[in-house]
């Protein structure tokens, strides 16, 4: 009687421990996989400098930079934080010679797009500096190099209405908004790679949003048109200029025109 119950208990104990040991093993495997799958390989050497300040011309087409004298509102705390986050920051104000209208251009670059160092999105930055977010929507910006997926962000601070257009290059992909940005990051991450990233942001202080976005589109088209293909891909990646059929078509018509 005692023998039987003892062996029975042993048996059940052995069964349980087999199940529980496999649970343990699976949990250990998961913990190890989480470490092994962490991306470690930088697509771009983080210590390298691209020199965006120099790449972006101060004069092209109808546009010329204006010396900014405190016209850009800068939050000092923000500035300090941005210096740690980005390896290169470019901020310039351009004037359209023919009309006198202005465009603010802001470029932020970092070779490290792991989660904690990801580029800050304007829809987060602007409200953080006291702007109201009036609207935000995804759009396609037509340029002679194809359609660029952009985010249109409408902001306002008091009387200052500032429509913003931006996109983020993550590696060779373009993204707008948190979901696309993180998806792009994870696409690299699952292959063990850490992409670089660049924020391209233009804005203007103008009540008429439609007119503002038209001018911004014009500005972007002129700017990227003035760059050589290698520099251009630094801003719009390779996806736009090589993959889309409309790009090839517009490239052909352009070649014919030239």
């Amino acid at each position: 009687m005692t023998m039987q119950s003892l062996s029975f208990r042993n048996l059940s104990f052995r069964n349980l421990s087999f199940r529980n040991l496999s649970l343990l093993a699976l949990m250990f495997i998961a913990a190890a996989l989480a470490i092994v799958l962490k991306p470690t390989h930088f697509e771009v050497d983080p210590s390298s400098q691209k020199g965006y300040e120099k790449i972006i011309p101060n004069k092209f087409g109808d546009w010329i930079t204006e010396e900014n004298e405190g016209s850009l509102v800068v939050n000092p705390q923000q500035e300090e934080q941005l210096k740690g986050l980005y390896s290169e920051v470019v901020a310039k104000i351009y004037v359209q010679a023919s009309s006198g209208r202005k465009i603010m251009l802001s470029i932020a670059y970092s070779a490290d797009q792991r989660h904690e160092n990801q580029i800050h999105k304007p829809e987060v930055c602007y409200p953080a500096q006291g702007f109201e977010l009036l609207g935000i929507k995804k759009d396609l910006m037509q340029t002679r190099f194809g359609n660029i997926p952009v985010m249109r962000v409408q902001t306002r601070q008091g009387r200052r209405v500032e429509p913003v257009t931006y996109w983020i290059r993550v590696g060779d992909k373009l993204a707008r908004g948190a979901i696309e940005q993180n998806l792009a990051r994870v696409q690299f991450g699952l292959r063990g790679r850490i992409p670089d990233g660049l924020l391209f942001r233009v804005s203007s202080i103008e009540d008429d949003t439609v007119a503002a976005y038209q001018l911004q589109d014009q500005f972007v088209d002129d700017l990227i048109g003035s760059l050589d293909p290698v520099d251009r891909s630094q801003f719009i990646g390779d996806t736009v200029s090589s993959n889309s059929a409309t790009t090839i078509l517009s490239g052909v018509t352009r070649a014919l025109k030239d």
């Binding site: 799958l37 409200p127 953080a128």
Partner: protein, 280 residues
């Protein structure tokens, strides 16, 4: 008890690194400062339910294993790719599935409160938070401005920027955030669980009322900050902001919760005695 050791060791291997990571990153920020408290409370409740769960008859549920694999998958992707939603969220899947495998649905039911509580530890996706935070911020600034204006302070407002005297105050996300609301909701649920009402009426009403309560507590916090800055200067305001504002918020909210709950209790008793008399 020996059967639980492998499970405990596995959970430690999975989640201690997660908690260490969180304590270095988002728990330091104000919006997620409640994280360790939530975790502590949840672990304590799980520990307390431990013996109850252990005594349950083993009727393993079939859903246990698939759920376990799903939880681990979420963990691996979340932790390796820095997706906190997945990494922190996987805790709930993994723990529920372990209970299902070891004991069955009865065990999951016995542990529902700490498991539900762990939800408040998950950092919500930024887009979602921002979409709901902004209207809340506007509303908090609006009410704070109007109340202070009503008691004749020189205050005006542009969007979420309050101007009082020579000072300009920006109502930041942390002052009115969705996370604060969730923290307070968690606090309220904890209160309900500790007080252990048997009255469904009081439980449900209070759980719903926590939203306006949290709003009121936020308005009080913003007004306190505004008044301290106005009367004692910018430095005092900043000191308050970083030292006590959070504490004030929680104490205010807790006091309102207890107050509202007492009122509900009082109302319920009167209503009950009235109906009892009516029946007699």
């Amino acid at each position: 008890m020996a059967e639980w050791f492998p499970i405990l060791i596995g959970l430690i291997a999975l989640y201690v690194p997660t908690w260490v990571g969180l304590s270095r990153t988002i728990w330091v920020a104000e919006a997620q400062a409640h994280g360790p408290i939530i975790l502590g409370v949840a672990l304590w409740f799980l520990w307390k339910q431990g013996p109850v769960i252990h005594e349950l008859a083993a009727q393993p549920a079939k859903t246990g294993w698939p759920l376990f694999v799903l939880g681990l998958l979420l963990y691996v992707i979340g932790r390796s790719q820095d997706i906190l939603l997945f990494e922190v969220g996987s805790q709930i899947f993994v723990i529920i599935s372990l209970l299902l495998i070891q004991r069955g649905w009865a065990a999951a039911r016995a542990a529902w409160f700490p498991l539900f509580f762990l939800l408040f530890m998950i950092p919500l996706p930024g887009t979602f938070v921002d979409a709901l935070t902004l209207p809340m911020k506007m509303a908090v600034s609006y009410v704070a401005e109007n109340v202070l204006y009503w008691v004749s302070y020189p205050i005006s407002r542009t969007g979420v920027i309050l101007q009082i005297g020579q000072y300009k105050l920006l109502v930041a996300d942390a002052c009115a955030g969705l996370q604060t609301l969730f923290t307070l909701e968690a606090l309220g649920l904890l209160y309900l669980n500790i007080v252990r009402h048997d009255s469904l009426f009081r439980n449900v009403t209070l759980a719903i009322l926590i939203i306006p309560i949290s709003f009121t507590a936020n308005v009080i916090r913003v007004m306190a900050l505004t008044l301290i800055t106005y009367h004692f200067g910018d430095a005092a305001g900043q000191g308050f902001l970083h030292g006590f504002a959070g504490l004030v918020l929680f104490i205010t909210a807790l006091l309102i919760i207890i107050g509202v709950d007492s009122l509900l209790q009082f109302a319920e008793r009167r209503w009950k005695s009235a109906t009892a008399r009516g029946a007699a």
